[in-house]
């Protein structure tokens, strides 16, 4: 190839490279815009039946809440509930066992409940566990979890998505910006790691599981067995 021919080719080659880089930057810009939009689209979205919200709020109304704790911090019996928000038996326990324990033991100050979220079932369980802890950072974990259980779908079917997580937070009048920040906070991950560690220590390998600790000892109940939970509380109180 002659020098003249090479010289003639160089400018067009540079133009091609410049166009390719510009096109690539444009594609990268679109990807970034989509990603950023996905990160803030919580304002859109679904709404949750206000009657349902009122129901779950009333279920724990008047009971002190702090983080993952429901009940008087000084209550002598501690009932730690290990649960996965996608687990149908956990939803069953939330509908039957928890209200009974709240009525008979938590409201009178005999016991307090501690929620320990685990993520056994799938990626959506992890999202739900983060959301539960984030709601706990505004002391509304228990109604938040109860609300998600009421809206539970099939395991790993995609029902526990970002839209639902944010919609539930809005429905319960959480500060959504603070909630979103807490979702991704290192302290939230630390709380989940701690729950996983204590589950191992307590020998919990399935959900739901209740670890009941009191002045007279400690009992572990696995499954949604309300009678066994009540018997355990009675035994250790």
């Amino acid at each position: 190839m002659s020098t003249t021919a090479r010289a003639n080719r160089t400018p067009s080659r540079r133009i091609v490279v410049a166009v390719a880089v510009a096109a690539a930057l444009a594609v990268a810009g679109v990807l970034i815009a989509l990603s950023a939009r996905g990160g803030t689209d919580g304002d859109a979205g679904r709404s949750i039946d206000p009657a349902l919200v009122a129901e779950v709020t009333a279920a724990v109304g008047g009971v002190p809440q702090s983080g993952a704790t429901l009940g008087r911090p000084s209550a002598p019996v501690v009932v730690t509930e290990y649960a996965d928000l996608q687990c149908p038996f956990c939803a069953q326990a939330a509908a039957t066992i928890v209200p009974d324990v709240v009525r008979r033991y938590v409201r009178p100050g005999v016991a307090r409940l501690e929620f320990a979220p685990l993520a056994f079932i799938g990626g959506d369980s992890t999202r739900g566990a983060h959301a539960a802890v984030a709601a706990g950072s505004q002391d509304r974990l228990w109604q938040y979890v109860e609300l998600l259980y009421r809206l539970q779908g099939e395991e790993n079917a995609g029902w526990l998505d970002d839209d639902l997580v944010d919609a539930a937070a809005r429905a319960l009048d959480l500060d959504v910006a603070a909630f979103d920040a807490a979702l991704h906070a290192g302290s939230t991950q630390a709380a989940l790691d701690e729950a996983a560690r204590t589950a191992t220590t307590d020998g919990v390998s399935s959900t739901p599981a209740f670890v009941v600790t009191g002045p007279k000892g400690r009992r572990v109940v696995t499954g949604a067995d309300g009678a066994a939970v009540t018997a355990a509380i009675e035994a250790v109180k």
Binding site: V17, A24, A36, G38, D193
Partner: protein
């Protein structure tokens, strides 16, 4: 010209190595996500937070899948000799570097959590970009001496 050809070949091999490493990272993240598990963080502890965040998906598509597509593109560019391979490599590398830079900002500035695997991928993409630019520079025709 033989020197330029051998340098280009060496750069293509380097790009292929980077692409295979990146594919390994992306496939690992995809598998862990499919299993519903947080990836093991070799260093630090932010992998679970990052993978559980909404930024781990783009319009419903897991970002790790995009990683597989991107590194497959770089591997294809490494396999293609000449201008076509160079242009494809640069195109994919610029897109990947731009998006990877955004994700690094998300980790540091929004999530305040650093995922070892995401940082590894960002470094691999940066190296791939440098290789692709070098490949184009090597392939560019030089004016003959007067």
């Amino acid at each position: 010209m033989r020197g330029a050809a051998s340098v280009e070949r060496a750069l293509r091999v380097a790009l292929a190595v980077v692409a295979v490493a990146g594919l390994g990272v992306s496939i690992y993240l995809t598998v862990e996500r499919a299993r519903g598990r947080a990836p093991s963080c070799v260093v630090g502890g932010g992998c679970g937070t990052v993978q559980a965040s909404r930024y781990a998906e783009l319009a419903g598509i897991p970002v790790a899948w995009l990683g597989i597509a991107g590194y497959a593109g770089l591997l294809t560019a490494a396999a293609l000799p000449g201008a076509a391979g160079g242009a494809l490599g640069l195109l994919v590398a610029v897109i990947a570097a731009g998006f990877s830079g955004w994700l690094t900002y998300v980790e540091l500035g929004i999530l305040h959590a650093v995922c070892f695997w995401c940082v590894t991928s960002a470094v691999l993409v940066g190296i791939a970009l440098l290789i692709c630019v070098a490949r184009l520079a090597v392939a560019a025709p030089r004016p003959a001496p007067a």
